[in-house]
Amino acid sequence: MSALLSEDFTFIVQGITGREAVNLTRECLDYGSKVVGGVTPGRKGREVHGVPVFDTVEQVTESLGYVPDGSVVTVPPAFTKDAVFEAIARGIKLVVIVTERIPRRDVAEMVELADRNGARIIGPNCLGVIVPEVCKMGGIGGPAKDAAKAYTPGPIGVMSRSGGMTTEISSTLTAAGLGQSTAISIGGDAIIGSTYAELMPLFEADTRTDGIVIYTEPGGRMEAQLSAWVAENDSRLPIVAFMAGRFMDSEEMQGMSFGHAGTIVEGKEDTATDKIARLEAAGIPVVERIDEIPDAVKDKLGARV
């Protein structure tokens, strides 16, 4: 068992007939994932790479005779909230939201509804989740053959605010002989469904995970929350962090945002410098280079033995 996904994990794609969604479906099927249905209102009766398309999530569950485990939501921002509400209302417990540029209020509403229904949201503005050689849920890693190059099974859990960097980091770990238990692109927005600290208990409970690597950025309080979680919980898992966007601390960059919507620095506590200090105080080394990650992880794993 890994964090979030297993071999029997079934999921649907909401917005499956969109251009990106069609690609994503192909990639997931090629990787061996069980994509059991798709939803696009008004397109009932079609197929996308052999996956049947329905008008509603309700129709999917009726046709299957069971509720699928997850849904990948890739619909335009104005319709995302309704799609996610629909998935949660029909009993789906894991929702990956790919869509970008969703207003914060909608995200907060979706997350609160998920909490009340025992469901979990990953994203928005993310590439999804992958358990190497088991299941890929979302565009993470790209086509199956590319995903197989970057991701290999192993003991490291990866969480990243950047979708692309999830793959870069995993590829670097793979090259150093460190495979991944589960890699999660958590999303680049100011408010997301699952933060590092909120996902830590899942990795903690996953016997295949021995260590964690996170990719972090300026903006928000997610890293402070993780530092606090580490201080309050006697975790068995060592963590190594990489911080991008240090240049945003310089005087001439004040008030500007780069990269993701969530990188807007709103106070002195969410600058790169402050975050690095906080993480290191919690015993989480912050490396300056991606290629330093494997050695830092090996150091940490060695120290635990």
């Binding site: 921002p77 104005a78 540029r101 969703i102 207003p103 914060r104 209020r105 995200v107 907060a108 509403e109 609160e112 509804l113 009340r116 565009g139 890693g141 790209g142 086509p143 590319d146 995903a147 970057a150 990243s160 605010r161 950047s162 979708g163 692309g164 960097m165 793959t167 870069e168 590829s171 670097t172 090259a175 680049g188 100011a190 408010i191 933060t195 990719y215 950025e217 928000g220 309080r221 997610m222 929350q225 990489f242 991008a244 966007g245 240090r246 240049f247 945003m248 001439e252 960059m253 008030g255 500007m256 780069f258 990269g259 993701h260 919507a261 990188t263 300056e288 280079r289 991606i290 290629d291």
Partner: protein, 404 residues
């Protein structure tokens, strides 16, 4: 996006929160007329999107309409922190008994709005929270129900406010919370919220910021305020480079490119991509002594002409000697298409690709094809085995090897 004070007051007014009889003016004559209408002492306030107005001389008091016109004329010419005012606000000088603070912000960790209230208004709320924590009331709101009055009442009561003041302030804070949600604000603040000598409450200043992602669905209120769709309220004026990149991006729906050069002035042009990858690579260049001329983000799968357009804009920038083309491992963006675009840009500007492209490090989809194209023009291609740090380092070394 941030609103001017006069816009924020209009938003507050729309939400049913009492404001003074203020006027927004763009000339000294208008300011005189508004002051005449008000018929008593007035305050003239510069309308700029920056703090520190008072200190900079952007807020002045006047006893007569002539004096108001005189101050308005001076303030309209006064630059504050590099910003010229959009106009002045002429406000009656209120007979204030006490000042309060009312605000609603996002709590990102709890993922819901947070109401704040203080009976020590008129100063920075963070300062009050630090020095007089017992004078700040707080309360979270559910995202799924209408912000209820009782939550506002609880928050205000935490500061010890009671009696008719509590009864009068409660609907104001509750309405502010509803406004914050209804208009997709990231910040909604009234500071100071004043209790006048007659016991009534009135918003004397307001600060509102709307989430950019919500602008499409807030068209009605933005139109009503006269905010044009292209008025992005950036903290600085976009440069020629930034405007050109934006134009290239919007001319073609395939892929997304963004460019910024505000605050950059180096000799190494960056054609880099993906949100996190661009942050990582900009750091890697700077940490190894390189001086980036700009910042870019390539996302999705841009066309050859789009990649070419971006590379050209970077190359045309003053002082750019070479460009570094780098991304983290791509799955959506095609390596060969970016390679074609970059080569095309060099050739069209009469530059030798082998000399101009300091490094090309984009591993991933269609990399074999990309490598072939690059090699035929003598450009070195870096595989994923060359780390982002090493690729940035090679680019820096190459540019430093060129005699000045």
């Amino acid at each position: 996006m941030r609103f001017y004070e006069y816009e924020s007051r209009r938003i507050v007014e729309r939400a049913g929160i009492p404001v003074t009889k203020y006027g927004f003016c763009t000339t000294a004559d208008e300011a005189r007329r508004v002051a005449e209408d008000i018929g008593g002492p007035v305050v003239i306030k510069s309308q700029v999107l920056t703090g520190g107005r008072m200190k900079a001389g952007g807020v002045k008091f006047a006893d007569t309409p002539d004096e108001a016109a005189e101050h308005a004329a001076a303030i309209l010419e006064l630059e504050i922190n590099g910003h010229m005012p959009k106009g002045v606000l002429v406000d009656p000088k209120a007979d204030v008994a006490q000042e309060y603070y009312a605000g609603v912000v996002w709590d990102g960790t709890r993922k819901c709005p947070l109401m704040l209230f203080s009976d020590m208004g008129g100063i920075d709320i963070e300062e009050v929270a630090e020095k007089h924590p017992d004078h700040v009331g707080r309360g979270h709101l559910s995202n799924l129900i209408d912000p209820p009055d009782f939550r506002a009442k609880e928050v205000i009561s935490h500061t010890g406010v009671t009696g008719s003041e509590l009864a009068r302030a409660t609907p104001i804070l509750a309405r502010l919370a509803r406004l914050m949600r209804d208009y997709d604000m990231t910040l909604a603040e009234i500071n100071p919220l004043a209790r006048l000598a007659d016991g009534s409450f009135v918003a004397l200043d307001a600060h509102m910021e709307m989430e950019n992602e919500a602008r499409p669905r807030q068209k009605a209120v933005l139109e009503d305020l006269g905010v044009a769709p292209d008025d992005l309220r950036e903290p600085y004026e976009p440069s020629e480079f930034e405007r050109n990149v934006k134009a290239i991006d919007s001319a073609d729906h395939r892929g997304v490119i963004q460019g910024k050069d505000h605050g950059f002035s180096g000799n190494l042009g960056l054609v880099i991509g993906a949100g996190g990858g661009s942050l990582t690579l900009t750091d890697a260049v700077r940490s190894q002594g390189g001086r980036p001329a700009n910042y870019t983000e390539i996302g999705g799968n841009p066309s050859v002409s789009k990649a070419c357009g971006l590379a050209k804009e970077v190359l045309k920038k003053d002082g750019v000697e070479k460009i570094a083309v780098m991304m983290s491992i791509v799955s959506n963006t095609r390596v060969d298409i970016v390679a074609r675009g970059v080569i095309k840009a060099c050739l069209e500007l009469g530059r030798d690709p082998a000399e101009t492209v300091a490094v090309f490090r984009i591993p991933g989809a269609w990399e074999e094809e990309g490598e072939k194209i690059l090699r035929s023009y003598g450009v070195e291609y870096c595989h994923r085995s060359v780390s982002m740090w090493e690729a940035a380092g090679r680019a820096v070394a190459k540019i430093q090897g060129v005699p000045a």
